[in-house]
């Protein structure tokens, strides 16, 4: 199976060291030097499901690898945003925010897609069928989502095309 990652790289001081493991087997281990969008297409033979994918950042010096201005604002960083993970034809985008990032110091971060610390971003795939698994994720997301904005949704739908006028005559 081809597993593709679209990553947005922040390459301060050489770029992040990224290791990707599939079912505990390392399939990628490199420093990502190119700033911006990087696409990784990994041909993973015999990817047994259920299984897990781990994207790990390592070797970041938290004192040196983040460029900050005098008031603490981040100007540049060594890290990576995960924009998309594609397992065969099954692509995850919004679903990425459901997974957890386990920092090296033990702290667990949720609702993020940015790896700004040393640690592991874990995608547990607990079904043999990735499409069914994705459906489960989406259902989970919908059940737990709490920031749905009806007015924004309505505005977006009515922003294009002919308006719909109700006329009870």
């Amino acid at each position: 199976m081809i597993i593709s990652f679209i990553l947005d790289v922040h390459n301060y001081r050489g770029g992040p060291n990224i290791k990707i493991s599939v079912n505990d087997l390392c399939v990628f281990d490199k420093q990502l030097k190119k700033k911006g969008i990087n696409q990784l297409d990994l041909d993973v033979n015999d990817f047994k499901l259920p299984g897990k994918i781990v994207i790990e950042q390592y070797g970041k010096n938290m004192n040196k690898d983040t460029k900050v201005n005098p008031v603490g604002g981040i100007l540049d960083d060594k890290g990576v945003s995960i924009l998309s993970v594609k397992l065969g034809q099954c692509e995850l985008k919004y679903e990425i925010y459901l997974f957890k990032f386990y920092k090296q110091d033990g702290e667990i971060l949720q609702n993020i897609n940015y790896l700004g610390y040393n640690g592991s971003f874990v995608i547990p795939i607990d079904d043999e069928n990735v499409n069914k698994w994705k459906q489960s994720l989406q259902k989970y997301m919908l059940k737990t989502i709490d920031d749905f904005d009806y007015n924004k949704f309505k505005q977006e739908i009515f922003s294009e095309g002919p308006n719909l006028v109700v006329n009870y005559d």
Binding site: C90, Y94, S136, Y140, F153
Partner: protein
């Protein structure tokens, strides 16, 4: 420890609204009539009881059983612990030769599979049988890939496709037959001779709603283009009105429960049987202090077909709520759907429901294939017209927007003009090109707002979230993989 030939269990997760599920009682009755000892356990109900004692654990497990995913790997221990506990409790009470698991919807698959594995680990001698509509994952026309896989892995010993009453007995007697470990099930044509469900193992005090399920027919007399019921049930088969009434009366006397819910796709498919049923029940209710009530799904019939007298008898027989697939206020749209009723039929039906004080919940479909804006306006006009009957219209269900299911006639008949565009909800139709997903969402939003303005109750918090989510998926040109989020709710099921 109770030795029994057969133990039949329900499994999580089905939201029954506090009602007991029917399948184990049906199968117990059939098995015992054929000389086998049988017991039942409602593991689905036991699971829901956990919500009262440990809500956090219940929510985690429910998400896992229903959705199949646990986002924190550490929580898997919770699942294993729960399955182990349930398996131990079952085996401490019973020593069955066969364990039959009623997989009500595909949302019961995860628990069923883990439970079967656990039972096999603990006692490999017990033969495990899976049955129920939940054996198929992707609609009722899909294949039996899941139970086949479990059988190959020796997690289960047998599965029964579709109806279980005859197949289960054949399996116990001969180990094989139509629909046993194969999809070639035979539809039962004669329902009157079926034994009544045996609820003797149920403690009804445990349930919030004392309601018994009852089945008067299987299949449907209509072949609505958007529905796949008629694809599954090859024929509409029904019981006589006498047989249904006898069961209601007998069961109410036996269990002291007087509320019934039909599992049928429609109760008034055969007017002859329906008329006989309401006549008997009307007479019974007039002569007994404990009145029997019932609810179910109906098709719209005009006054020539379902007469004023039928309506009076309907009320007297104990009808307290109908779900009606109105779908649209436009005859042109309904004709395309093959609903086969006119606006006059509908007016007469709703008026009679109002006169006879039988509440009707209206089911609608927004953005059907040939729906124009004029057609849509006709649906709004209909709702405005029926405002005067609002006291008997407790709720309107507009669903999401029209979706195209594989296996339905709307797909088979129009697939040359339909493009699915990556999802059941994202389709476009060459003969009505302006009706894209955005247009359907516009109509859906307007419909909900107009319903509220007119004073109708419409509960759709999850529905709107789902539509927003689908919209985002479509504009990102992603594949749609989600079609619903409430499949575990019993009242949303169209078959038992």
């Amino acid at each position: 420890m109770i030795n029994t030939d057969l133990l039949i269990v329900t499994v999580p997760v089905t939201d029954t609204g506090g009602k007991p599920l029917q399948a184990p009682a049906v199968l117990k009755g059939v098995a015992e009539k054929n000389g086998y000892s049988a017991r039942t356990m409602d593991l689905n109900h036991e699971f829901h009881k956990l919500s009262k004692t440990n809500k956090k654990e219940y929510d985690s497990l429910k998400n896992y059983f229903m959705l199949g995913t646990m986002l924190d790997i550490k929580d898997y221990k919770l699942v294993d612990r729960y399955i182990d506990k349930v398996a131990n409790e079952v085996l401490e009470q019973f020593q069955p030769k066969y364990l039959a698991v009623s997989v009500f919807t595909y949302l019961c698959q995860k628990f069923s599979e883990l439970f079967a594995q656990k039972i096999k680990d603990k006692n490999p001698k017990i033969k495990i049988i899976f049955g129920g509509m939940g054996l198929q994952s992707q609609g009722i026309k899909s294949d039996f890939e899941w139970p086949e896989k479990l059988k190959s892995a020796n997690t289960i010993d047998h599965y029964i496709a579709s109806e279980g009453e005859v197949a289960l007995v054949r399996l116990l007697k001969h180990g094989k037959g139509p629909g046993i470990d194969n999809p070639d099930w035979e539809q039962q044509k004669e329902l009157d001779s079926l034994v009544y469900p045996d609820y003797s193992d149920y403690d009804f005090n445990e349930y919030g709603t004392k309601t018994l399920m009852i089945t008067g027919s299987r299949g449907c007399v209509r072949k609505c283009s958007f529905c796949d019921i008629h694809v599954h049930w090859k024929q509409f088969v029904f019981r006589s009105g006498r047989s249904i009434a006898d069961e209601m009366i007998s069961q109410s006397q036996k269990y002291g429960i007087f509320r019934f819910q039909f599992t049928d796709s429609l109760i008034n498919g055969s007017m002859k049987a329906y008329r006989e049923f309401v006549e008997i029940m009307s007479d019974y209710n007039k002569n007994h202090p404990a009145k029997i009530t019932w609810r179910g799904q109906m098709i719209v019939r005009g006054i020539r077909s379902m007469t004023k007298n039928d309506w009076v008898l309907t009320r007297e027989s104990g009808a307290v709520s109908f779900d009606i697939g109105i779908e649209s206020g436009s005859e042109s749209v309904r004709d395309h759907m093959k609903k086969r009723f006119s606006n006059l039929d509908m007016d007469e039906f709703i008026e009679q429901a109002f006169i006879n004080k039988v509440p009707c919940r209206l089911l609608l479909i927004v953005g059907y294939l040939n729906e124009t804006r004029e057609d849509f306006q006709q649906t709004l006009n209909m709702l405005k017209k029926y405002k005067k009957y609002q006291s008997m219209i407790p709720e309107v269900f507009p669903g999401t927007t029209m979706s195209i299911l594989p296996g339905t006639t709307v797909w088979e008949d129009h697939k040359n003009d339909l493009s699915l565009n990556g999802g059941e909800n994202f389709w476009t139709y060459a003969k009505n090109p302006t009706l894209d997903f955005r247009e359907r969402l516009k109509r859906r939003i307007v419909l909900a707002e107009e319903c509220r303005k007119l004073g109708y109750k419409i509960d759709e918090e999850n529905g709107m979230k789902l539509m927003d989510f689908l919209w985002k998926i479509q504009i990102q040109k992603q594949q749609q993989s989600i079609t619903d989020i409430e499949t575990n709710v019993l009242s949303d099921q169209k078959y038992s």
